[in-house]
């Protein structure tokens, strides 16, 4: 009973700290619960979606003539394959809707009931019977809609062989395999009648051209129950045994589909999760400060309690319980608040994933996480409250422990011209131990604010994007046939009439296999533009460069040899370097056009120009289309064709979350520390008032002191950011293919977060020190 009475009294007396810790924990618990729940919901939504369509482990797109009886038999009898399914498809080489054109192949399939149609509100699926597709109507995935920026009712035009077919979007279907906007290839669905008509047309067209591929099929391979290989290894094994991948138009494993679909969601939520976990570190620092100053301030009370027979463990138990109680209340409140937050976030990633996810919270995971947080906190509190054991009742009762101040090496003279500033600086240097924690907190906040700013800066920096291996081209071209070098020079001259060319790319891209594993291959006519991070570009015909991700996956190093295959062609290449590319999330390699000749490639298909005058891109594209419309199709790209709106929105969203949480944390931390400091320095405030300082003077001193702390923390945070932001982002964005993040700081990007935090600290401290007004000089009276 006595413990409960004391806990109640302590909480009442320290309601500021108590409330502060509750608030901080609410933010942390709410955010973590929301992040975990959204991740869980998407994962389970994705699993359900794959189950609904009975997706295979490997999708292989093949020309019809490749899928012979013999091939099918070899697949069906393969020990690692449980079953094989084959679906007819029609390949469209170009898709356009509104002003947007897509060069990735889309595959038109007959609509099957297993692909559920979403209802009008996108909150669930249409109930049986499923909507009937009329002629000229099409079902697409959400990812397709996002890529084409179209809506239900819009028209999409498909170019199949040499003919164009327009379809009206009837609805959205759940097709998880290619459904994400992160995947360029798509499966879309039309009715049987349309499919048969298109198929007949394509068959006629296919006979006319060697290159044209209209009719094709999708072969789905299902792993046998005893096959323990990952989907990637399964694909490699099957390819080595049957060569089916080498002869395919393209493949996708379910693991890679999951990877692409979850990539954006995982990256955004992982960045936020790391930030929130660091915020938990901030809470621990705040709690440590609160406990250590609390013990100092309660020195006499603790002594008195001990003199009355309280054991040190009993006193410690009171302290531990009151802090854990604050954390537990905050954690539970955070979980409750996460319920509406999860509902709001439920479909935030829908445009990218195309997966309908639940909107509930992962209760047990959240509770487990909170339990872990409480255990970590309890350990910290146990360590910090050891000091209580050292409180001597006699010393406490005989006047407590008065602090002794020592000279500081940082001591600066007090100046009349800058009296408030110099006094504030003296307070800071005299009590610097007290401010170490707060400096660390500011440095953590600034580190993350700068890190997310740096990430945002990349979007605005052509150089940064280029140095990370992005093909940044304000004007791009697709060649309609073979274009020789003389023609390319001619085209360049046209471009240079309007803008200097900073960088030019001439390339093709397709899937080749390295040592049996199929990867996206970039073939450059001018390989010197490849962004090599180690070694050198593949200047000779027997060289390739690979990304760090492929190097890790395949165990390849510079100087080693690898066999590249495509169809029936095979050639040994030397790995000449490591490069960075965000194409196919970094699972890519590159070679020169000379090297690709063995696979039948004798010219490049695309070109891109990074322009000195980017605003001239539209004009240049128009001029090129006018002059060379018969051999190429030129397009002007805003932002170099790099920036999806979704990325910008996501990065700005993360920036907003990190900035808002940082300011909130700054507010709570300043309030808590300021209140404690105020109580500790009440006597000094009285003295200053007796000397004639006004309340505004003293509040300014308070605010300046906190400003100085924020400044010191900001400097530390900036240094940490310069040293580690690149590494942190490289590791967080590795799954996107960025293994060597180029950090670019600008004066503005450094100043804005630092200024924001410093000003917030100044204002919050000024606001929190309002109590100075209530300090009466009379408190110095010794009766």
């Amino acid at each position: 009973m006595e413990i409960i009475t004391l806990i109640k009294a302590n909480i009442y007396r320290r309601k500021g700290s108590f409330t502060g810790i509750i608030l901080l924990m609410v933010i942390i618990s709410m955010s973590l619960t929301a992040i975990l729940s959204v991740l869980d919901n998407y994962r389970s939504g994705l699993d359900t979606a794959y189950r609904q369509i009975d997706s295979g482990n490997l999708y292989v797109f093949l020309k019809n003539e490749t899928v012979t009886e013999e091939v099918m038999d070899s697949l069906k009898t393969h020990p690692l394959i449980e079953r094989v399914s084959k679906t007819d498809a029609i390949r469209s080489a170009e898709i356009s809707a509104g002003g947007k054109t897509e060069q990735n192949p889309w595959f038109l399939l007959k609509y099957d009931k297993k692909y559920k149609v979403l209802n009008n509100t996108l909150s669930g699926y249409e109930k049986e019977p499923l909507s009937f597709l009329k002629s000229g109507e099409i079902y697409v995935t959400q990812g397709a809609m996002t890529r084409m920026e179209c809506r239900i009712g819009d028209s999409i035009t498909f170019t199949i062989s040499d003919r164009k077919y327009a379809f009206v979007v009837k609805g959205i279907v759940a097709e998880p395999m290619f459904g994400s906007s992160m995947i360029g290839w798509k499966q879309v669905f039309i009715n049987d009648e349309d499919f048969n008509r298109l198929s007949r047309d394509a068959a006629v067209a296919d006979k006319k051209t060697v290159e044209g591929i209209g009719r094709c099929c999708v072969v789905q391979l299902y792993k046998s129950a005893d096959c323990k290989l990952t989907d990637g290894k399964f694909k490699r094994r099957i390819n080595l045994d049957t060569g089916i991948v080498d002869h395919s138009l393209g493949t996708l494993t379910r693991d890679m589909s999951v990877h692409y679909t979850s990539l954006f969601l995982n990256t955004v939520l992982t960045i936020l999760m790391v930030f929130i976990l660091f915020l938990f570190l901030v809470v621990l620092i705040v709690m440590a400060h609160s406990i250590s100053t609390g013990i100092e301030m309660d020195y006499v009370n603790i002594g008195v309690l001990k003199s009355q027979g309280f054991t040190k463990n009993k006193v410690r138990a009171i302290w531990i319980f009151q802090y854990l109680l604050a954390q537990a209340i905050g954690a539970v409140a955070g979980i409750i608040l996460a319920i509406p937050l999860c509902r709001a976030l439920g479909n935030a990633f829908w445009p990218i994933t195309g997966i309908l996810a639940d909107k509930g919270i992962s209760v047990w995971k959240s509770f487990f996480l909170i339990f872990t947080i409480l255990v970590v906190s309890a350990i910290l509190i146990l360590l910090l409250t050891r000091k209580i054991g050292k409180v001597s009742p006699v010393r406490a009762i005989s006047g407590g422990r008065s602090e002794v101040y020592f000279d500081s090496r940082l001591k600066a003279p007090i100046l009349q011209q800058f009296l408030s500033v110099s006094l504030a600086f003296r307070q800071f240097t005299s009590y610097k131990r007290k401010y170490i924690g707060m400096t660390a907190i500011v440095s953590i906040l600034i580190f993350f604010m700068l890190t997310i700013t740096v990430l945002g800066n990349v979007l605005d920096s052509k150089k940064a994007l280029e140095s990370m291996g992005a093909l940044y081209a304000e004007c791009s071209m697709e060649f309609l046939g073979k274009v020789d070098d003389a023609k390319l020079v001619e085209i360049e001259k046209v471009v240079e009439k309007y803008s200097p060319i900073e960088k030019k790319y001439y390339w093709s891209s397709l899937y080749y296999s390295i040592n049996g594993e199929e990867y996206y291959c970039q073939v450059y006519q001018n390989p010197d533009v490849i962004c090599v991070t180690k070694g050198r570009a593949p200047l000779y015909g027997n060289e390739i460069v690979i990304t760090e991700l492929i190097a890790d996956e395949m165990g390849l190093e510079i100087g080693e040899k690898a066999v590249v295959t495509h169809g029936n062609s095979k050639k040994e290449f030397l790995v000449s370097g490591i490069f960075q590319s965000i194409n196919d999330t970094g699972m890519t390699f590159a070679m020169s056009l000379e090297g690709a000749k063995v696979f039948g490639m004798d010219s490049v298909w695309f070109a891109g120009y990074s322009l000195g005058s980017p605003d001239k891109n539209k004009l240049i594209a128009d001029k090129l289309n006018a002059a060379y419309g018969d051999i190429l199709r030129a397009t002007a790209n805003a932002d170099g064709g790099m920036l999806e709106d979704t990325y910008t929105i996501a990065i700005n969203g993360m920036k907003a979350v990190i900035y808002i949480f940082s300011v909130l944390f700054a507010l709570v931390v300043v309030m808590m520390v300021c209140t404690k400091t105020f109580i500790q320095e009440k006597r000094d405030i009285g003295i200053y008032k007796a000397l004639g300082f006004t309340a505004v003077n003293l509040r300014l001193q308070f605010a300046i002191r906190f400003f100085l702390v924020a400044l010191a923390g900001s400097l530390l945070g900036t240094v940490l950011s310069i040293l580690f932001s690149g590494r942190l982002l490289s590791s967080l964005l590795r799954s996107m293919g960025i293994t060597n993040f180029t950090v670019q700081f600008t004066a503005v990007s450094l100043v804005i977060p630092v200024a924001l935090i410093c000003v917030c600290f100044f204002l919050f401290a000024f606001f929190a020190s309002g109590k100075v007004k209530r300090v009466e000089v009379r408190e110095l009276v010794t009766e």
Binding site: Y688, A690, L691, G692, E783
Partner: protein
């Protein structure tokens, strides 16, 4: 005829306690004169310190007026009071109350600079002179925690007079000192007074009371006794002690 430096008219101070009012000062009329070392004495709880702080504007009176330079201190706002403390009034406390992270020298000059009426260099020169006078110039860069109580109190006196205040308020300035330091501090206050400094001091120490040129006796929040003395001289301390003792006895001290 001495000039009145500060006067109180119907000064009252009461506190709310258990739903009622406790009256500490009751309707006090008082005049303090220029050049006097006025000492307020009285039994514990008689309201001595409360009177000192009410007169100095450190504490707000519940009723009545405190007139200084034709202005009522009781009605003054915080800024005006702060200005008064910066220039016209100086304070010495029983517990010294030096700012613990400023050196002795800095404790003194900060007060001087706050006043802004003198140049930085003038304040520095004056501070050095005062430290010399108080015998603490050799420990000027020490922090308060590194010096004795007597040295701290001498520093506090120097700080209180750095702005040459018109009136110096001292609340039990020797209350926390040993005998040797008490004598040193009293000697300093006496010499300041004899140099023209007006001082109002609260004490219950007879040795301190002997330095007064005027003694007031406070009982239950009212001034019940007033004794005017000649200027203090150490040679005449014995006769002065007898006179004061007799007066205090008559006050039932």
């Amino acid at each position: 005829m001495k000039n009145v430096i500060l006067s109180a008219d119907g000064l009252c101070k009461s506190f709310a306690h258990n739903g009622g009012q406790v009256h500490i000062l009751s309707n006090i009329d008082l005049e303090l004169y220029e050049g006097d070392l006025t000492v307020i004495m009285g039994a514990s709880g008689s309201g001595k310190s409360t009177l000192l702080y009410a007169l100095s504007g450190m504490d707000r009176a519940t009723a009545g007026k405190v007139i200084y330079k034709d202005e009522d201190i009781v009605a003054m706002g915080e800024k005006k009071l702060a200005k008064l403390r910066r220039g016209d009034f100086g304070f010495i406390f029983q517990q010294m109350y030096l700012v613990s992270n400023l050196s002795l020298y800095e404790n003194i000059v900060v007060s001087g600079w706050l006043n802004k009426e003198r140049r930085t260099s003038q304040v520095k020169i004056h501070a050095n002179e005062l430290m010399e006078q108080m015998g603490i110039s050799h420990i000027r860069s020490h922090l308060p925690s590194q010096v004795s109580g007597g040295e701290q109190q001498r520093c506090a006196i120097a700080r209180a007079v750095i702005n040459s205040p018109k009136l110096l308020f001292a609340d039990e300035p020797t209350g926390a000192l040993n005998r040797k330091n008490t004598t040193e501090v009293l000697n300093l206050l006496t010499s300041l007074n004899q140099a023209g400094q007006s001082i109002l001091m609260v004490t219950h120490d007879l040795k301190a009371a002997l330095r007064a040129t005027r003694l007031l006796y406070l009982e239950d929040g009212k001034i019940v006794g007033n004794l005017v003395l000649s200027a203090y001289h150490p040679d005449k301390e014995r006769s002065r002690e007898e006179q004061v003792n007799a007066w205090l006895s008559s006050m039932k001290w």
